[in-house]
């Protein structure tokens, strides 16, 4: 999933302060839980209360888009409100406000979320972890399903570096050494042969900036 957190309310208030009529647009997509209509309505209530305290009156409309990164879905959800609002406050990841900006050139698109990473939601630990850098050339088949590009502090494609102690990274003692995890996992799978395979330097141009499906 995409992991996002709500921006500080002061920052959101600052961003929306030039406008009065605002559409708050949620996204039912990738975050967990989705920033859908509940989050939208809760944010509306909070901003109304904050506005009252500052003597600022907002007029909010609310909607939630199935996937705000999808231009068709976003345009169809937001179009009915275009005439009535001066700005869109988006609860989607960074792709959401950019979709709005691209397809509604006259409408300011304001993010309400900070987007962090593509991650795993570990319910047991109640935390989310960065797990995919969207590098464009996935090597998980060689690394036991653990991504060294993302989870090794040095992004090493061939490890381990030898700097880890007690399974923790020398750069960040809170962080597991990705290559030790990879080693353990491959050993468990009986595929330690894979760790001997040399992976050449990554061609980051494969990541690209556009993809034609």
């Amino acid at each position: 999933m995409i992991v996002t957190t709500l921006k500080p309310l002061d920052e959101i208030l600052e961003s929306i302060s030039p406008y009065r009529k605002i559409l708050i647009a949620g996204c039912d997509g990738c975050t967990q839980p989705p920033r859908g209509i509940r989050e939208v309505k809760t944010l509306k209530q909070l901003l109304e209360l904050a506005g009252q305290l500052k003597g600022k009156e907002f007029e909010f409309k609310v909607t939630s888009v199935v996937k705000q990164c999808d231009s068709v879905l976003t345009v169809s959800a937001i179009k009915p409100y275009v005439e009535d609002v001066e700005a869109v406050l988006s609860l989607a990841c960074g792709a959401g406000p950019q979709t709005v900006a691209k397809f509604f050139p006259d409408l300011p698109a304001i993010p309400a979320q900070n987007s962090h990473f593509i991650g795993i939601d570990d319910r047991q630990e109640g935390q989310m972890f960065d797990s995919c850098s969207a590098c464009g050339d996935c090597i998980l088949a060689l690394t036991g399903g653990i991504c060294p590009v993302t989870r090794c502090s040095k992004g090493l494609l061939n490890g381990a570096c030898g700097g880890a102690s007690n399974g923790k990274c020398e750069l960040d003692p809170d962080r597991d050494c990705a290559w030790e995890l990879i080693y353990e996992r491959l050993r468990r799978l009986g595929r330690l042969d894979l760790i001997k395979k040399f992976t050449p330097a990554k061609d980051y141009s494969a990541k690209g900036w556009r993809v034609t499906p």
């Binding site: 709500l6 309310l9 039912d28 967990q32 859908g36 209360l49 305290l53």
Partner: protein
């Protein structure tokens, strides 16, 4: 954690002088709170284990157990007053765990007018009350218990079922007809609006009972036998696709302004788990305090808290059971998390002090009043600071 009650006087007590050591209480207690001390030949109540269900109270043949909640005497007194008020000779005793609203309860029994007696677990209603009411001329007694596996106190509902069978047999012999007391069972559970569901799996992640299942082919489905009606999934569903029987989102939303309109400042709206506090029959907490009961604190929604503040509440309090006392699977801890989360956001706009979370237990009467008083003082202190 230190109790703020000056002299914690427990809500349940065993009177040694009356006790015949028959051990019925200890055999029925769902929480093993009563044990027999063979050395001293007494029954010992561990009040910290007691969940104040009242099963021991209603079952004690020697009437050696005292409780301050809904004692037989107070119930009979309440009925004396309530009978002319409701202009009915039909009493409906219901567990608040499974009772819908007044009209809903009436519908279950096919009656329009009745005297409602809502108690936490019908298992606490003794034969003495049921017979006393019959003798006092009540024409019809209906009992609404929870489905047996839904009973928050595990044994209250099954026990009442057996009690009613035995009493009916006795009453029939006495000439009161075949089924003097009727009994129905009910439970209040989640409802799903599949049109609104966005298949995110939040309910699956949070349900302590594994009631929901989500698959790509089948979408969302709930095993209603597994649902225990805590309302946690309802409170968290990002798409408002879930609701809970009798604790519907709209019903609570409508109650909020209604309650606040009738209150005097400082207005404190209390969302209260119905198992954390046992209110006195017909009791209220004064003109400043409004109460909305929840099936479990897990039903609390940030949405409703903010609605209360928007509608003029000076303070909002969420009252829950402690994690260990929670009648659900530690759902009250989740509720505390939900409250802390929205409080952190309210803090950002300077309104965090308006929200308070407290966990209390009915085993020490007066706890909730104390917590509310403290909260009120903090609110009034903050107001004074403002005007200075």
């Amino acid at each position: 954690m230190s109790q703020k009650v000056a002299e914690p006087k427990p809500a349940v007590n065993i009177n040694e002088d009356h006790c015949s050591r028959c051990t019925i209480c200890s055999s029925l207690c769902p929480y093993d709170a009563i044990t027999q001390d063979r050395d001293n030949n007494i029954m010992v109540l561990d009040i910290e284990k007691c969940q104040v269900c009242g099963i021991c109270y209603s079952a004690c043949p020697a009437k050696a157990i005292d409780t301050i909640y809904y004692s037989s005497g107070s119930v009979l007194k309440y009925l004396e007053k309530a009978r002319p008020q409701y202009k009915s000779d039909n009493l409906v005793i219901m567990c608040k765990g499974s009772a819908p609203d007044f009209a809903g309860v009436g519908k279950l029994f096919g009656v329009k007018d009745f005297i409602p007696l809502s108690v936490p677990c019908v298992g606490r209603i003794s034969e003495e009350v049921l017979l006393g009411v019959t003798v006092a001329g009540m024409k019809k007694i209906d009992i609404l218990a929870c489905d047996e596996d839904y009973c928050r106190f595990h044994r209250g509902s099954p026990l009442t079922g057996r009690r009613v069978i035995a009493l009916n047999r006795m009453l029939e012999q006495l000439g009161y007809g075949e089924e003097a007391i009727t009994m129905k069972r009910n439970s209040l559970k989640v409802t799903v609006d599949k049109d609104l569901c966005i298949a995110c799996g939040t309910c699956v992640a949070y349900c302590p009972y594994n009631a929901p299942t989500l698959t790509s082919e089948g979408g969302i489905s709930f095993d209603l036998d597994a649902c225990r009606g805590c309302g946690l999934c309802v409170a968290l569903c990002p798409a408002f696709a879930l609701d809970l029987d009798n604790w519907e989102r709209d019903r609570i939303s409508n109650l909020i302004p209604q309650m606040l309109a009738g209150m005097k400042p400082p207005k404190i709206l209390v969302f209260r788990c119905q198992w954390a506090v046992y209110p006195p029959l017909n009791g209220d907490m004064g003109p400043n305090i409004g109460t909305i009961e929840l099936p479990c604190a897990g039903r609390i929604e940030a949405f409703h808290i903010l609605e209360a503040i928007q509608n003029g509440a000076d303070g909002v309090m969420v009252v829950a059971c402690s994690e260990d006392d929670c009648k659900q699977e530690k759902v009250s801890a989740k509720a505390e998390h939900v409250v802390a989360n929205i409080k952190a956001k309210l803090d950002q706009i300077g309104l965090g002090d308006k929200l308070n979370f407290a966990s209390v237990s009915p085993r020490y009467p007066g706890q909730v009043e104390e917590k509310v008083r403290e909260f009120r003082q903090s609110l009034e202190g903050a107001k004074k600071g403002e005007t200075k």
